[in-house]
Amino acid sequence: MTMNNENELSQRFEIVGGDFSKAGKTSTSIKEILQEIGIDSSIVVRAAIASYEAEMNVVMYAQRGVLTLNITPMKLHLKLDDEGPGIEDIDTAMQEGFSTATEEMREMGFGAGMGLPNIKKNADKFEISSTPGQGTSLRITICLDKKGRK
């Protein structure tokens, strides 16, 4: 974990695509960090759910990804950049129930087309961009104070 200054910390996690045995480890670590530094439990669960869904998307669809957790006194940021197939039509991908999951993904209990909408639901601010054939980027912000919360 890196302390950028007295009031800000960040941690970078590498996620390997296709490695279902480690799927969820990064999000579990993020949850533990947030608990250790005393973040409110309702925020911890929202951040954990958003990072878990994002991590599972990398494991299921991409070759690799980097998830960066950044915490300031006011906000929690999760930045995810993956190298993978990308998303052709983001509006369609954001619809609940839309999924391109394989049978293996569904056997893991995922791939129901709930991931991206669920990330958005748990974020106060959510941005997604993608280049087909290259990868997808997510920017998730959760406000730590009541101002700015959805």
Binding site: F20, S21, A23, G24, S27, T28, K31, S41, S42, V45, A48, I49, Y52, E53, E107, M108, G109, F110, G111, A112, G113, M114, G115, N118, K121
Partner: protein
């Protein structure tokens, strides 16, 4: 309802967490889809599922579930049990199928996630 009462009602076997049976459970939800669990689950939930791989334990841990009951006689794999031990998450296994297990708990007064409780 305590986890011990749930164990008896569902004639369940304790896979892990013999010393956690005094835990008070206030509501429950059932699904094999972890995406759904992440969407509807709330901290403190008793999760009933037929998904027996380690993702069930990871998902339960992420949402701060109190315990997992595996239905249809399923039991989690070794990785799932190790993870549950690490996180202190009790695991039970019942031979009842999902519908029956949920119905038994609901009819004995355990509400769902929405708070809907059986009529007395």
């Amino acid at each position: 309802m305590t986890l011990k009462e749930i164990k008896e009602l569902l004639q369940a076997e304790v896979v892990y967490g013999d010393d956690c049976l005094d835990l008070e459970i206030k509501f429950a939800g059932g699904s094999d889809l972890m995406s759904d669990v992440l969407a509807f689950g709330k901290p403190g939930i008793l999760l009933l599922t037929g998904l027996s791989n380690a993702q069930s334990v990871r998902t339960a841990n992420i949402i701060d579930a109190k315990a997992i009951v595996y239905v249809r006689g399923k039991k989690p794999d070794k990785m799932g049990i190790e993870l549950a031990k690490e996180k202190g998450l009790p695991l039970l296994s019942t031979k009842f199928m999902m519908y029956t297990a949920c119905g038994l708990l609901f009819s004995h007064g355990l509400p769902g996630v929405s708070g809907l409780a059986p009529k007395k």
